[in-house]
Symmetry: C2
Subunit: 321 residues, 2 copies
């Protein structure tokens, strides 16, 4: 399988490195919008973004390693006219529209796009669907973190007077306990607190604090912790890329719902971009197989039979004992 890597940030770099462990994968090239002379890879050839259009026959799946806020919504529909693609689009509120747009282009051009495939949305979405569908009378709660939320960090950076900022999403301990004991869906506000580290311009701390605490959809209503730190501290203590996702699913059966069932998943992530890249690589396999069967359009994990992700042949359930 010949993979093209479009975008060479943390995600693209992780994907290149992972390919070394997968003998069935060849990295055809890294495609960048920066000056290609300035991009140093681990060995993969570097091309300009525009060279992509000369390589349409040499790439089986193009891995789109861009952000979800502006790049993917614009680039994926464009590129899915020429390539099978895989991406980790994670803007939940826009995903329906995104899927429709990519689907219509890919169907028209006979290409296959696997979209929104990372660890969440992606792996954790699958767990929630299966737990919800398979456990009787089930209730499911997801907890993210401790780990950086890019969206919330960017929201902080847009505030006047913020020079640098990072936001950790952290599960509330009381909510973790509750979710493990009681079949009741908790809100995002009930499940998480938001811990912010900010490098601020002098004297702007009070203004920033008020702005953060009143920001609707991001911080208002949440338990928020604000720490104003120096640039040096930011650099020294806040470069970790670990993350974590936990799901508590509880079900009940029996005449009086007296029989309890539970499924608990704990995904502990050493490097967010590395795991995302690994899931995307499995998604590239699925896109490639679907494409070989002329199954075109936009697919999420919910639309794809699990066997399509397996690196080895997988004809039956006893292949994964």
């Amino acid at each position: 399988m010949r993979i093209g890597i479009a975008g060479y940030g943390n995600l693209g770099k992780a994907l290149e490195r992972l390919a070394e462990d997968n003998p069935d994968v060849e990295i055809r090239g890294v495609y960048t919008r920066r000056n290609k002379e300035e991009v140093v890879t681990d060995g993969a050839p570097v091309y300009s973004f525009d060279d992509l259009y000369y390589h349409t026959d040499e790439i089986d799946v193009l891995a789109l390693c861009y952000g979800s806020s502006t790049d993917l919504p614009r680039l994926t529909p464009e590129l899915s006219a020429y390539f099978n693609t895989v991406d980790a689009f994670d803007n939940h509120s826009l995903i329906d529209e995104y899927k429709r747009r990519v689907d219509s282009v890919a169907k028209a051009s006979g290409k296959t796009s696997v979209i929104a495939l990372g660890w969440d949305p992606g792996l954790l979405s699958l767990m929630r669907l299966y737990f919800s569908s398979f456990l009787p009378n089930s209730s499911v709660n997801t907890f993210w973190g401790r780990g950086v939320s890019q969206g919330h960090s960017e929201a902080l950076r847009r505030i006047d007077g913020v020079k640098q900022a990072i936001q950790y999403t952290v599960p509330r301990e009381d909510a973790l306990t509750l979710a493990s004991l009681v079949a009741h869906p908790l809100s995002n506000v009930e499940r998480h607190r938001r811990v912010c580290y900010i490098v601020a311009e002098k004297g702007k701390e009070d203004f920033i604090t008020r702005e953060v605490l009143s920001m609707e959809n991001y911080f208002a209503g949440y338990e928020v912790e604000l720490h104003f730190i120096s640039e040096e501290e930011m650099h020294k203590y806040h470069s970790s890329m670990t993350h974590r996702g936990r799901i508590y699913a509880l079900g009940m059966s029996g005449r009086y719902k007296e029989v309890k069932h539970s499924a608990y998943l704990d995904l502990d992530i050493g490097s967010n971009p590395d795991l995302t890249a690994s899931v995307m690589l499995a998604g590239a396999r699925a896109a490639h197989k679907l494409s070989l069967e002329n199954k075109n359009g936009a697919y999420t994990v919910f639309d794809i039979p699990p066997s399509y992700f397996a690196p080895k042949e997988c004809k039956n359930v006893n292949n994964y004992l």
Copy 2:
């Protein structure tokens, strides 16, 4: 969705009760090979097994609530000529042949059979496949129990001098620790010990002990605990239907494989037949939907897009946030 229940043991009874919680499900009837006058249900009409052939147009999916050792291998290929079916066939070594036989009949008759769908094989098979495919350089270990293994209990009962017997599969504590720390696949013998409770004929204890400890594929090589107990004790202490399944998946990434990722699943089952029935009900939904799309043949969970199991409409990953 109109469900027929073929076989009315613990599994069939659990399925009938669960249907009450699912407004989209109607139990068309319970079909029994026993004298139907002696079968008392929770409300569903009771028919003789042979009446099935008069109800082919009134049942959307037939749930086959039989054992895997003799009944399912014989009955599923027969019934899949007339019905969409779902079953929890769990004899791993025979599953390839079973799938081929059911597939050819179902394809020829335009029916859909979802096979081998319980919590394992089934839910845990899915988790293993996804963890294996999505985590980089992954290693996966499954632990069953503490819970009763029907196959091992039956193997004990076949020994001369055994009046009653039950076998609990129990994870070894040392193996649980190892699997949580080291990416290395452990053998079944390394992962589990086998705890047996036996009601024996007088004076047969030594003979039975030798037979058990030397039984290949079942007990030989394992850490085995044997307890000879009275019929009264068997009745009083060994009727629980709880079970448990745990999966440890470890992955690693980075240039020197220095970055660790882990996925841990803990499925705690209050009643083995209740959970199996619940999973089968989701499988019946999938069989029904596949059949409506004229997708015929035998399907395992690996062949079915996840969305087919969802009780609610499921067009996109944001339907399971």
